[in-house]
C-alpha cells in the first residue's frame, strides 16, 4: 500500500538517478518488500475484497423485504451521448396521453406551445389547443366565460381539485405527469414496466375492491386499473398500437415532458467537448514544454567543507 501511495503521490519527482540516493527512496520501506511479500499482500487484498463482495451478494436476498419487483433496464433510444428523442414516438405518445392518461392525470407544467416544433407544427398545435375549452375572464361584464384554448394555455385538468380527483379514484390522487419520469426510481423503465406489468395477484393476496394488482408498484395493490390494451387507440401514422408500443410511446412522451431541454444540453455538451478536446492537449503540451527544464534537472546536496 505504501509503495502504491508513494507511486501515486509521485515522490519520484526529485529522485536523482545517480549514486546519490534520494530521500524518499531511503525512508520508504515499501521498496524493500520482496516479491513474495507483495504477492502475499495482493492475494490478501483480493481475498479480502472478494469475501466482502461475496458477503454483499449473499446479503441481497436478505433485503428482499419490501415486495417490490424491480423493472428490467430497458435500452431507451434517447439515452446516450448522441441520441435524441424520436419525435414520431413523442407525437404518438402525446396521442396516448390525450386519449388515455389525461382522463385522470394532470400535466401542469406543459402548455400547448411546448409541442410546437417538437412533435407538432404551430398550426397543428393551435388546432390541438382549440379542441380544449378553457375558462377565462372576467369579461367587461364581470362574467367568467369559456373559450377555445390557445397555444399559451396549459393542458386541461381532468378534475377541479385534489379532493375531486381522490373521490373518483378510490381515494388515491393520480400524480401529476409533468416530471413523473424524473420523480420515480428507475425512471422510464419503471413506468414502462408498470404500464405493461398488470397481472392476477398471487394466491392468498387479498385485494380490496376497486384495486388492481401490479408487482412493480410498492405493495402490489394499485388504484389505477390497467389502462393500456392492444389496439385501444388508433395511431394517426398507422403504427400497430400493441400494448408495448403504446407504453413505449407514452414513456417517450413523458420523458420528453420531464426533460424537454435534453437535446439542447447534449448539443452544447458536444460543442464544448470538441473545443475542450482541442484545447486540453495544447494546454498539456504547453505545460510539459514549460516544465521540461525542471523535469530533466538534478539537484545534488553536498556537505560543506
Amino acid at each position: 500500500m505504501s509503495a502504491l501511495l508513494a507511486k501515486a503521490s509521485r515522490q519520484g519527482f526529485l529522485q536523482a538517478k545517480t549514486s546519490i540516493s534520494s530521500q524518499g527512496a531511503c525512508i520508504s520501506t515499501g521498496r524493500r518488500f520482496s516479491r513474495k511479500k507483495i504477492a502475499l499482500a495482493v492475494a490478501g487484498g483480493v481475498l479480502g475484497v472478494g469475501s466482502v463482495g461475496v458477503g454483499m451478494a449473499l446479503l441481497r436476498p436478505a433485503n428482499a423485504q419490501e415486495l417490490i419487483l424491480h423493472p428490467p433496464h430497458y435500452r431507451w433510444d434517447f439515452k446516450g451521448y448522441f441520441a435524441a428523442y424520436d419525435k414520431a414516438s413523442v407525437r404518438r405518445g402525446y396521442q396516448v396521453y390525450k386519449q388515455v392518461c389525461a382522463a385522470c392525470h394532470t400535466m401542469e407544467a406543459l402548455c400547448y406551445r411546448h409541442l410546437v416544433d417538437v412533435c407538432y407544427s404551430e398550426r397543428e398545435a393551435k388546432r390541438e389547443a382549440e379542441e380544449a375549452m378553457v375558462w377565462d375572464g372576467p369579461n367587461d361584464a364581470g362574467q367568467m366565460f369559456q373559450r377555445p384554448g390557445k397555444l399559451s394555455d396549459p393542458f386541461p385538468k381532468p378534475y377541479d381539485n385534489v379532493e375531486a380527483a381522490k373521490a373518483a379514484n378510490n381515494g388515491a390522487y393520480p400524480p401529476d405527469l409533468g416530471h413523473v419520469v424524473l420523480a420515480r426510481e428507475e425512471a422510464e423503465s419503471y413506468i414502462f414496466a408498470l404500464l405493461t406489468g398488470y397481472c392476477d395477484p398471487p394466491a392468498g393476496y387479498e385485494l380490496a375492491d376497486g384495486m388492481a394488482y401490479n408487482p412493480y408498484f410498492a405493495g402490489g395493490a394499485i388504484s389505477m386499473a390497467q389502462a393500456l390494451y392492444n389496439e385501444i387507440i388508433e395511431y394517426e401514422d398507422g403504427t400497430p398500437a400493441t400494448q408495448s408500443q403504446l407504453a413505449k410511446d407514452v414513456v417517450t412522451f413523458l420523458s420528453w415532458a420531464s426533460d424537454p431541454d435534453l437535446e439542447q444540453r447534449k448539443k452544447f455538451g458536444i460543442k464544448a467537448g470538441v473545443v475542450l478536446f482541442l484545447m486540453t492537449p495544447v494546454a498539456f503540451y504547453y505545460k510539459r514544454f514549460k516544465f521540461h527544464t525542471l523535469y530533466t534537472q538534478q539537484i545534488f546536496w553536498k556537505k560543506g567543507k
Partner: protein, 418 residues
C-alpha cells in the same frame, strides 16, 4: 500606473505572478486552485439562477420548473450549479486528504481558515438544497434544523428563531435564500485570508522540507499557471460532461415532487457529500449524541495542528504506519459514505458504530505516530498540547460509549467484568 513600482501592482505581482512555489509539488497540490475555480463557477451560475428564482413557498418549485423549461439554457445552468456543488465537495475532500497526508495542517492559520471554509461550504450547500422546495428540500430543512433542538436550554427556541415561526415555511425559505446568496461572498473573503496566510509561509511540499535559500522554488508564472490552466480545463470538461449529459444524476427523484408538509418521503437521504456525516449522526441511538458526534467529526480536524512541531515539516509520507493509518481512514470514510446511503436496517445501522469509532480513533493514533517519529528528532513537544488532545478524546470516547447500542455496551461491560 501598472509599473511594478506601484505598491498594489507589486503586492499582486508578489502574491500571484512571482509568488515562489516549491518545484516538487505534485498533482494533489492543484486541487486548491480547482476549488477556487469551482467557487467562481458556482457564484456565476448561481447569479443567473437567482435572476429567475422566486423565494416563495407557493412559487419556488414552479420557478425552478420555469428555469428548466422556459429560460434559455436554464436547465444547463442549473446543471452547472448542482453538479458544480458536487465537484466542489469532491475537490475539497481531496484537498483535505492531501493536507492530512502531507502534514499541511502544520500551517495552523491556513488549516483553521480551511475548516471555516469547509463549514461555510457545507452551510451554503445545505441552504441551496432547500431552495427548489421539492419534497427532499423541505424535509431536509425540517430534519437538519430540528437537530439544533438538542442544544440544552436554548435549543427549541433557537429552532423556532431560525424557522421564523412554528414550522418551516415562508420566513425560513426567504432567509435561507438570502443566506445562500451572501455566504459565497463571505467564502470569497475567507478564501483570500486562507491564501494570504498560505503566502505568509509559502506552500508546503511533498518532501516536507523548508527551503529558505529559494533554490528549490520557481515563480508561479509561467510554470504553475499553465499547469493550473491544464487542470482547470480537465475539471471544466468533467463539469460540462456532468451538466450536459447527466444533468439530474445528483437530484433525488423525490425532489421532482413539490414540497408537501403532510407527506414524508419514504427514504430521506442527504446528498452524497453529506453521507459520511449522516452515518455518524445515525451511529448514535440518541439525537443529542448524534448531533454532538456530528459536530465533533468536523471540529476534530482542528486538533491536527497541535501535532508536535519539528524542523521537519513532513506528514505521513515517510511513515509506513502513518500511510497504513491514512489508507484505513480513507477506506473507512468511503465505507461511511456508502453506508449512509443505505436504509436504516441491519447490518448498516450496526456498521455505523464501527465506522464512527474508527473515524475518531484515527486522529490520536495518527498524532501519536507522528509524535513518536518527531521524538526521534529530539525536538520540542509540549505537555500542553498533549493535555488538550487527551481531554478532547476522552470526551469524544465518552460520548460514543454513552451512545452505543445496548447490546454492544453489554458486550463491552461483560468483557471488562471478566
Amino acid at each position: 500606473m501598472f509599473s511594478r513600482k506601484n505598491k498594489w501592482v507589486k503586492f499582486l505581482n508578489n502574491s500571484v505572478w512571482d509568488y515562489k512555489v516549491p518545484i516538487n509539488i505534485n498533482n494533489w497540490w492543484y486541487f486548491g486552485s480547482l476549488l477556487g475555480l469551482m467557487l467562481v463557477c458556482q457564484i456565476i451560475s448561481g447569479f443567473f439562477l437567482s435572476t429567475h428564482y422566486v423565494a416563495h413557498v407557493d412559487y419556488a418549485f414552479d420557478s425552478i420548473v420555469h428555469i428548466n423549461r422556459d429560460v434559455n439554457y436554464g436547465a444547463l445552468i442549473r446543471g452547472f450549479h448542482i453538479n458544480g456543488a458536487s465537484m466542489f465537495f469532491f475537490f475539497m475532500y481531496i484537498h483535505i486528504g492531501r493536507g492530512i497526508y502531507y502534514g499541511c495542517y502544520r500551517q495552523a492559520g491556513v488549516w483553521y481558515t480551511g475548516i471555516v471554509l469547509m463549514l461555510l461550504l457545507m452551510a451554503t450547500s445545505f441552504l441551496g438544497y432547500v431552495l427548489p422546495w421539492g419534497q427532499m428540500s423541505y424535509w431536509a430543512s425540517v430534519v437538519i434544523t430540528s437537530l439544533l433542538s438538542t442544544i440544552p436550554y436554548i435549543g427549541p427556541s433557537l429552532v423556532e428563531w431560525i424557522w421564523g415561526g412554528y414550522a418551516v415555511g415562508q420566513a425560513t425559505l426567504t432567509r435561507f435564500y438570502s443566506l445562500h446568496f451572501i455566504l459565497p461572498f463571505i467564502m470569497v473573503i475567507v478564501v483570500i485570508i486562507h491564501v494570504g496566510l498560505l503566502h505568509e509561509t509559502g506552500s508546503s511540499n511533498p518532501l516536507g522540507l523548508y527551503d529558505p535559500s529559494g533554490v528549490g522554488m520557481r515563480s508561479f508564472h509561467p510554470l504553475y499557471s499553465c499547469n493550473d490552466l491544464f487542470f482547470c480545463l480537465v475539471a471544466m470538461g468533467y463539469l460540462i460532461k456532468l451538466s450536459a449529459f447527466h444533468t439530474w444524476a445528483f437530484v433525488p427523484c423525490e425532489n421532482w415532487i413539490k414540497a408537501d408538509p403532510m407527506t414524508t418521503p419514504k427514504h430521506i437521504t442527504p446528498e452524497w457529500y453529506f453521507l459520511w456525516v449522516y452515518t455518524i449522526l445515525r451511529s448514535a441511538p440518541t439525537k443529542g449524541g448524534g448531533v454532538a458526534l456530528m459536530v465533533l467529526s468536523i471540529l476534530v480536524l482542528a486538533i491536527l495542528p497541535l501535532v508536535p512541531m519539528t524542523h521537519w515539516q513532513g506528514g505521513t509520507q515517510f511513515s509506513p504506519v502513518g500511510k497504513m493509518l491514512f489508507a484505513l481512514w480513507v477506506s473507512n470514510w468511503l465505507i461511511m459514505t456508502w453506508v449512509g446511503s443505505q436504509p436504516a436496517t441491519w447490518p448498516f445501522m450496526e456498521e455505523t458504530v464501527y465506522s464512527t469509532v474508527i473515524y475518531f480513533a484515527f486522529f490520536p493514533v495518527f498524532l501519536l505516530n507522528l509524535a513518536l517519529k518527531a521524538s526521534k528528532f529530539q525536538l520540542d513537544r509540549s505537555l500542553y498540547y498533549k493535555l488538550w488532545i487527551l481531554i478532547l478524546y476522552v470526551s469524544i470516547m465518552i460520548t460514543i460509549f454513552y451512545n452505543l447500542p445496548e447490546s454492544i455496551k453489554w458486550t463491552i461491560e461483560d468483557f471488562l467484568a471478566n
